[in-house]
Symmetry: C2
Subunit: 261 residues, 2 copies
Amino acid sequence: MNLNTTIDRTSYIPYYIQVVDILKDYIDHGGGQPGEQLPGEPELCRLFAVSRTVIRQALKELEYDGLIVREKGKGTFIAEPKIRESLFQELTGFYQDMAAKGHPPVSKVLKQKVVPAGAKVAAYLSLEPETPVIQIDRLRFVQGEPIVLVTTYLPYALCPELLAADLTQQSLYAFLEQEYDLLIARGQRILEAVLANEYEAELLQVKPGAALIMLDSVSYLEDGTPIEYFHALHRGDRSRFEVELIHVRDRGVPTGRVTMR
Amino acid sequence: MNLNTTIDRTSYIPYYIQVVDILKDYIDHGGGQPGEQLPGEPELCRLFAVSRTVIRQALKELEYDGLIVREKGKGTFIAEPKIRESLFQELTGFYQDMAAKGHPPVSKVLKQKVVPAGAKVAAYLSLEPETPVIQIDRLRFVQGEPIVLVTTYLPYALCPELLAADLTQQSLYAFLEQEYDLLIARGQRILEAVLANEYEAELLQVKPGAALIMLDSVSYLEDGTPIEYFHALHRGDRSRFEVELIHVRDRGVPTGRVTMR
């Protein structure tokens, strides 16, 4: 491990945050490799010339952020990198996105049945409240690890056969396209950061209070019909969303334009 | 308050989550207004026919998510809606985005000085490590409330005057355009969910362990020169990011195209 361990003792930034930043730099850009063992706490104290409390706080922070993994009696290791999802790929579906990366997800289907649409679902899908919708709750695994807990609603009238479809290893979007020729043309996504409650934590195998990315989404067909509303909770320690924005300056047009790869 | 308080007692979903979902529906779509007082705990127990423990867990959850505010001795109220930021508007800058909504942000500048670029900053800005960069740490307020803590790095050589600029009530992007004719043409954004540490929590006036949206970003000029790297932490209880995706199916072109308003 080759890094500059100099703490700025005149800075307003607490020592432990400076230690975190230096170690993050090393993990992200300085040559740190997943699985690599970090020096023990006493050695880190010596390297940074700070107290054990500072080092412990820094390691706790790095662990929270999913950058390191601490194994009792073994030591501290650099974690596997987060799963990268582009928001564009999200539009093509989580299944295709992960499959394209060589890790087709496996889903545990927790619920798949017809329910009357509640106020929110009805509003998103432009349906009258109480209209039958198919609700599908899935816990989705990548490489054996639970990554996302997603509840999806679709108008029952548009895809009744979906009720019997096996979605454990199949893309929902592929099913809609193959069975019904329904192509998703447009999507709105809302991202928020939330904390895992006990129920979500248990399913996603994180601690209650862990950070999750909430992704709320409505997808539309070419003619503007809303076809799907979903509410997804992604493990914050394993997920990151990437987006590329391009600002095209159209003369006289006050709105910008943005593309995403 | 007019809502369907029926709990599905056969569902695998815990009662308190069902209560949360019903109350969220009411707040988001069922006519609930910011500032509106919710019924007290005993009344909620009666309405949903569940125990006090269930109601308390549900209210804790809604409070975590920033949907309700609990005031000691006064009661429980529907919170102000989250600040909506589109990722496109983020490219035009937080200042312009908020100013366009009638709430120009005010910044407390915590740091504004020249530092040698660390490994990460150097990599993002395509500089040699140790190249002088201007580091600006700002705590940004909207309507008097701290919303985002952001650290920005820019190559010193490209905008030396920035070191002396007053950014408390001015847009950084506007300054770059007016003083140096530097226009941001493209940006990469990475979003993650993280937990507030004590330092961040104190500045953002949230509890340690609160959910934050981390936004990491590099912005480029038209010619591809990286002009800015920033690392921003947005309060999860007050921020949401919205993005609109459009899937254009170009014949023979395997990549999709996406626009965002």
